[in-house]
């Protein structure tokens, strides 16, 4: 991680409330984006492992790999929902 230069740090102290608010929103959004990207990385990792199993001989996804990757993500989301629903059910049972 790069550190913040002294000039920038000094300038940050003198931000207007409006600029501070704007910066806050920006950081929250960037954080959200980073989280989404992290999920995409781990899903790609998972689905590449599952779907690209034959010998790698071309740069594109072939006719079976493309739908496999799509299904992989779709079913992962379904499975995620099953977990959430089940937990919800357990919670209301108590």
């Amino acid at each position: 991680m790069d550190s913040i230069s002294p000039e920038v740090a000094e300038g940050l102290k003198n931000l207007s409330p409006r600029d501070k608010q704007e910066l806050n929103t920006f950081v929250t959004q960037e954080n959200q984006k980073a989280q989404i990207q992290a999920t995409i990385h781990s899903l790609t990792d998972l689905c590449f492992r599952k779907c690209i199993t034959s010998k790698i001989s071309a740069g594109q996804l072939d006719r079976s790999e493309q739908p496999c990757v799509q299904n992989c993500v779709d079913r992962y989301m379904d499975a995620n929902m099953v977990v959430i629903r089940h937990l919800e059910q357990m919670r209301t049972m108590q």
Partner: protein, 91 residues
Amino acid sequence: MSDAKSAIMDQIRQQAALSNARALIEKVNEHCFERCVPKPGSSLSSSETTCYTHCMEKYMAAWNTVSRTYLQHAQQGVAAAGGAQGVMGSI
């Protein structure tokens, strides 16, 4: 005064892009080394290099497909929750 603000925003954007690229490179290497260089010799052979190029392209194609498919879900989720969709468009 807003100079400091845009400076910090630029720095955040740069670091985000850098860590995203780093994560991608790491994953590509992990998968493609496994797949293309099963028995490391004294140098990378031309067939290993070709395999690596294909593997990289394939991995990125998979990344794009996953990204598109996942964002559809995420957007539906956000729309269902009635929240701000603004974040999704800029990835």
